[in-house]
């Protein structure tokens, strides 16, 4: 009965002649973590900023917690936490002051001091924003997004530029939000982040959804066999020995990937074949496809 956290239907957004979002349809469920993945310029930030009410869609419908983010923005804003991709804080304001200010805008905020502590910012509470490191600035922005105890948070690249410790601290907060029933919509470039955190991954490219589902359903049940050996093995010959439906490729040079029904039989065939070729297969491993494999397959390898 609850409307989804976010429901976008046939969304269109143009900037001048550029079509940034081209008929995008997306649902983010309540209480779940939804990760929007996509190459640079795919339309991630535009999509999120339309949901936040910063931009007006040129077509389609937008519902956030069942409301129109522009016409019903006043109703929506107290219920939604926002972390912009960068900036948004006056350079001279002290970290603690900023968080206390945002807390003052809400009826039942979290304790700003405890939240600073949680994100490792207590000793920087009196540091002006411009003197914080990039990672500290990101953490302060995350704190400001959650301090008002929202039902839904939008995090635009929350872990960009964070060191591993800070990334894990950020992931912990997102995990805890989820445990408390808060819905999260985040954008990211990090596949491991999406794989680890998200209940649902939506891959977008050129302003439209190219794949969506749980990380498991996207990476599939299919597994792959990887090994290293000298470059230039004759894979066509290997394939004749493998069950039909298998695929083999060398990428990059000297790194081999066999996809198909990877079981003991296939493993045995490959190692036997290597033995007859007189090569040793190093670092032999059986893995699932990663989200990164799926992502590159769908969005291509060229740089944007």
């Amino acid at each position: 009965m609850d409307s989804p956290a976010v429901a976008l239907t046939d969304l269109v957004k143009r900037y001048g002649r550029t079509l940034a979002i081209n008929g995008l349809t997306l649902n983010a469920e309540r209480g779940a973590v939804t990760a929007i993945l996509g190459p640079n310029g795919a339309g991630k930030t535009s999509t999120v900023e339309i949901c936040e009410g910063f931009r007006k869609a040129d077509g389609g419908t937008v519902r956030v917690l069942g409301l129109d983010p522009i016409r019903q923005g006043a109703q929506l804003k107290p219920r939604v936490g926002v972390m912009l991709q960068s900036g948004g804080v006056p350079p001279a304001v002290r970290a603690g002051e900023w968080l206390r200010l945002v807390a003052r805008f809400h009826a039942h905020p979290l304790d700003p001091g405890a939240l600073l502590d949680r994100l490792g910012l207590t000793e920087h509470a009196r540091t002006p924003y411009r003197r914080l490191s990039g990672g500290q600035q990101q953490r302060l922005s995350l704190a400001a997004a959650v301090v008002g105890r929202p039902e839904l948070v939008f995090l635009d690249e929350p872990t960009a530029g964070l060191d591993p410790q800070a990334r894990h601290a950020c992931w912990d907060v997102i995990g805890e939000l989820r445990a408390r029933g808060v819905s999260t919509v985040l954008t990211t470039h990090h596949m491991d982040e999406a794989e680890k955190l998200a209940d649902k991954v939506v891959i977008i490219d050129r302003g439209t959804v190219v794949a969506e589902g749980s990380p498991q359903s996207l990476t599939g049940a299919e597994r792959q066999l990887r090994f290293r050996a000298r470059p230039g093995l004759d894979l066509d010959e290997l394939l004749t020995a493998l069950p039909s439906g298998s695929a083999a490729k060398e990428s990059p040079s000297g790194h081999y990937v066999i996809e198909g029904h990877v079981g003991p039989e296939l493993l045995g065939t490959v190692t036997a074949w290597c033995a007859t070729e007189g090569v040793t297969a190093d670092d032999l491993s059986v893995e699932r496809r990663t989200l990164e494999d799926v992502f590159l397959e769908l969005t291509g390898r060229e740089l944007r």
Binding site: E52, G53, F54, A74, K77, P78, R79, V80, V82, L84, S86, G87, G88, V89, P90, P91, A92, V93, E97, L101, V102, R104, F105, H106, A107, H108, L110, D111, G113, A114, L115, D117, R118, A144, V146, G148, R149, P150, E151, V173, E176, L177, A179, R180, G181, V182
Partner: protein
């Protein structure tokens, strides 16, 4: 040991007065902490006050301090409501602060209310300090303080409108340069220290339509000559306020 944090949703906006007061307090703190802003809002006006009332650079009508003090009050109002606010808001737009605040429960009108309140608080501080220095130098203000307050409010509205018009349309760096230039030009032309009676008639007619001149002349009429409400000056200020605020509300870009 970290304190327990309960992320369970409990959304809700704070009451509007609390939001507005919190934002206004933050803005006042920002002004008082900013060295360049203090230079503009307090130090330059006081230097002008002390300098021009002790050194006989120019011929002025009546006692020097009685002529200069109202002009410096007008200058101080302009420095806060126009120059400081234009530069501050321009950079807030540039740094995405206005955008970020737009995602909080504080509405746009609440933010404008907070900015107005912050400007008035800073102006009160300026008036207290400048009046204290002027009184110590032998200033004898006359007239109805209510008329002076009315002129200052109308002047604040006019200068705020112009500040927001500039900050909401130009790039932050352009606003910084233009706002300082306008401050200097109006300091010279607006009758703050140079009596407009020394200008040729044709120039004077135009200069008297400037908001700074209307505020200076109006305050001087009340505080120095104990006149009734200077209606013409008040109308000039209200006209500037109406036009500038209407234009600003149509053209202001938050990002």
């Amino acid at each position: 040991m970290t304190a327990a944090l309960d992320f369970t949703p409990a959304p809700g906006a704070a009451p509007l007065p609390r939001m507005v007061l919190a934002q206004a307090a933050a803005e006042v703190r920002a002004v008082l902490r900013n060295g360049e802003q203090l230079l503009l809002t307090l130090i330059i006006p006081i230097l002008v006050l002390v300098g021009f009332s002790t050194i006989a650079l120019l011929e002025v009508p009546g006692r020097r301090i009685d002529f200069v003090a109202p002009g410096v009050l007008a200058l101080a109002i302009m420095s806060t409501a126009f120059t400081g606010q234009a530069i501050g808001t321009g950079f807030e737009r540039r740094y995405g602060v206005l955008k970020r605040l737009g995602a909080t429960p504080l509405s746009r009108s609440g933010l404008m209310l907070a900015k107005t309140l912050a400007v008035i608080i800073v102006e009160v501080l300026q008036i207290v300090v400048i009046a204290a220095v002027a009184l110590a130098m032998g200033w004898h203000p006359h007239g109805n303080p209510l008329w002076a307050a009315l002129l200052i409010l109308a002047g604040t509205a006019a200068f705020s409108g112009l500040a927001l018009l500039m900050a909401g349309t130009l790039r932050a760096e352009a606003t910084l340069a233009a706002a300082n230039l306008v401050y200097l030009v109006l300091l010279g032309l607006g009758g703050v220290v140079v009596p407009v009676t020394t200008f040729p008639h044709a120039v004077r007619v135009i200069v008297e339509l400037l908001p700074i001149t209307a505020l200076t002349e109006g305050l001087r009429a009340v505080l120095t000559h104990a006149s009734g409400l200077p209606v013409r000056d008040l109308l000039v200020l209200l006209a500037w306020a109406a036009v500038a605020l209407a234009l600003a509300s149509r053209t202001f870009r938050w990002e």
